[in-house]
């Protein structure tokens, strides 16, 4: 393998990985704080995809504005979904299974609703950035590089909020012991809603970055959900930092496996790796860190 090929594989791995990290860290944040495994997380991505279509293509807003509007929209939708469907159930003693069932139902509902509203034809979003970056002998479209950079910035911002702000402190307190948090006066119910919203923003960022490269469809979130879950397990259930690290690792593994086996096998390699990790280290590779 030439060094150019190597750098290309690493870069591709990091780019794919940054999407996995965005999706997985959102799932991890919600799971870590509320113990809810959100099967409708992929649909928050899908809704963001349609948000970009609406704001940037249909309404013709500038990219940055459309992206911001999309993020705000999915944050709001995330909060509403949590308040209306999940929060009431969590007041009951036996919520654990019911909530899983509800998020699966939500996922199906949102996919079908999208299909009814926007139909089956897949739609694309034009590139946000034109041009090709040249790094040594490696040529990479700016659009793809931007995925990595923006994802890093957004996840960095999220980590800053989690570990350096008052909001972050009450999120971590709720994650570590919701009842003790409630006892000191932290409204842990509202914290749960806020965390859902932040997680929706992470998923939305992923969808926005992907939207020029994939087609926006009712099912666009489904495949990423599976990768997101894999990342959450690899990262140590509920660890934000672990999920970010695991996302990049999974991206790199997939990228390198493509150069050895054909691309249809990259998913197989990724999940074989996941199963191996579950065998050897069921607590995850990066357990014990993060929120």
């Amino acid at each position: 393998m030439s060094s150019t090929q190597f750098i290309e594989l690493v870069l591709n791995g990091l780019i794919t990985g940054s999407i996995y990290a965005l999706v997985g860290s959102g799932i991890a944040l919600v799971y870590g704080t509320t113990r809810v495994l959100n099967f409708a997380h992929g649909e928050l991505m899908m809704l963001a995809g349609y948000g970009v279509l609406l704001f940037s293509v249909t309404l013709g807003w500038p990219v940055l504005l459309a992206a911001l509007a999309t993020i705000l929209l999915v944050m709001l939708l995330g909060a509403i979904i949590q308040r209306v469907t999940i929060a009431p159930l969590m007041k009951r003693e036996d919520w654990a299974f019911n909530v899983v069932a509800v998020t699966i139902g939500l996922s199906i509902f949102l996919q079908s609703a999208a299909q009814l509203i926007w139909g089956e034809q897949f739609q694309g979003v034009p590139y946000f950035f034109s041009g090709v970056a040249v790094i040594g002998d490696v040529r990479m479209p700016w659009q793809r590089i931007a995925i990595l950079l923006v994802a890093l910035a957004v996840m960095g911002l999220c980590a800053l909020v989690l570990f350096r702000t008052r909001l972050g402190r009450i999120i971590r307190a709720t994650a570590q012991d919701a009842e003790a948090a409630l006892a000191v006066g932290i409204p842990s119910g509202l914290v749960h809603t806020a965390v859902f919203s932040i997680s929706a923003a992470l998923a939305g960022t992923g969808a926005i970055l992907l939207s020029p490269l994939v087609t926006v469809s009712p099912w666009m979130g489904a495949s990423y959900l599976l990768k997101g879950f894999a990342v959450v397990i690899l990262g140590g259930l509920g660890s934000f930092g672990g999920a970010v690290a695991a996302g990049f690792l999974l991206g790199l593994i997939e990228s390198f496996s493509v150069s050895f086996v054909s691309s249809e096998w990259s998913n197989v390699v990724a999940f074989v790796f996941l199963i191996a990790v579950i065998w050897v280290r069921p607590e995850g590779l990066f357990a014990g860190r993060g929120a």
Binding site: A173, A180, V184, P187
Partner: protein, 238 residues
């Protein structure tokens, strides 16, 4: 000051508290004694609003709180030290203690913080340590410090001696007395009759979710039923 009136609590379809009535006067130390699973923790949780009663009244200084969320309690002057400390394990001791003042203004919290550290100087060397890494005794001090940060007039404590060494039990005991001397009422529960009633002004005996006996600490210790069942003494020896 704190009153529970005919409080009933259910977990699902199971009823675990049956018309429990209790009272804590200003400046009192009150013990709830009872065997495993008798509902001691549930009483404290119902008082704190961590478990909603299915019926009954929880009153603090005349204000009915049973329908209000737990989050209003610290503002009204009630806080709790939960069973098994329940610190935020991956946060520092200082963060844990400061979170106890979550509902208060920063300036007031700073003042209470100094007061609490004076009262519990044992935690000073550990302020930057990760709470979950401390010993049980140290964690209990931090948990008490966190509870005091709300500047409560009544402090609830769920099995404050659980898992502590005999020496540490003594320490925590004297800390509770010290806190009480500063005017804080304490309602705590404990399975050991002697420990519960010897240090309290009044006590309640809870069995299967019902209050079966109540009285002053001394009366409770002298009661034949308590002596026979919980102190392992024979009638004639009494």
């Amino acid at each position: 000051m704190l009153q529970l009136e005919r409080v009933n609590v259910h977990y699902g379809a199971t009823r675990v508290l049956w018309d429990v009535s209790m009272e804590v006067g200003a400046g009192e130390i009150v013990a709830i004694m009872g065997p495993n699973g008798s509902g001691k923790s549930t009483v404290l949780k119902a008082a704190m609003g961590l478990k909603k009663p299915s019926s009954g009244v929880v009153r603090l200084d005349g204000e009915e709180l049973q329908a209000r969320s737990a989050t209003v309690r610290p503002q009204r002057g009630m806080s709790i030290v939960l069973e098994r400390r329940r610190l935020f394990p991956r946060m520092s001791v200082e963060e844990n203690v400061m979170l106890g003042a979550y509902t208060r203004k920063t300036a007031e919290a700073r003042e209470t913080y100094r007061w609490v550290l004076d009262l519990l100087p044992e935690i000073k060397p550990h302020l930057n340590a990760t709470a979950g890494k401390l010993s049980g005794g140290q964690q209990q001090m931090v948990a008490i410090a966190r509870g005091l940060m709300a500047n409560p007039r009544v402090l609830l404590m769920d099995e404050p001696f659980l898992g502590l060494s005999p020496a540490m039990v003594k320490t925590v005991c004297s800390i509770m007395q010290m806190i009480n001397e500063r005017g804080v009422a304490i309602l705590f529960n404990e399975q050991n009759a002697k420990l519960s009633f010897a240090m309290s002004h009044r006590g309640y005996l809870l069995e299967s979710g019902r209050v079966v006996l109540s009285g002053s600490g001394e009366d409770m210790l002298d009661h034949p039923e308590v002596r026979r069942v919980y102190l392992g003494m024979r009638e004639e020896a009494a």
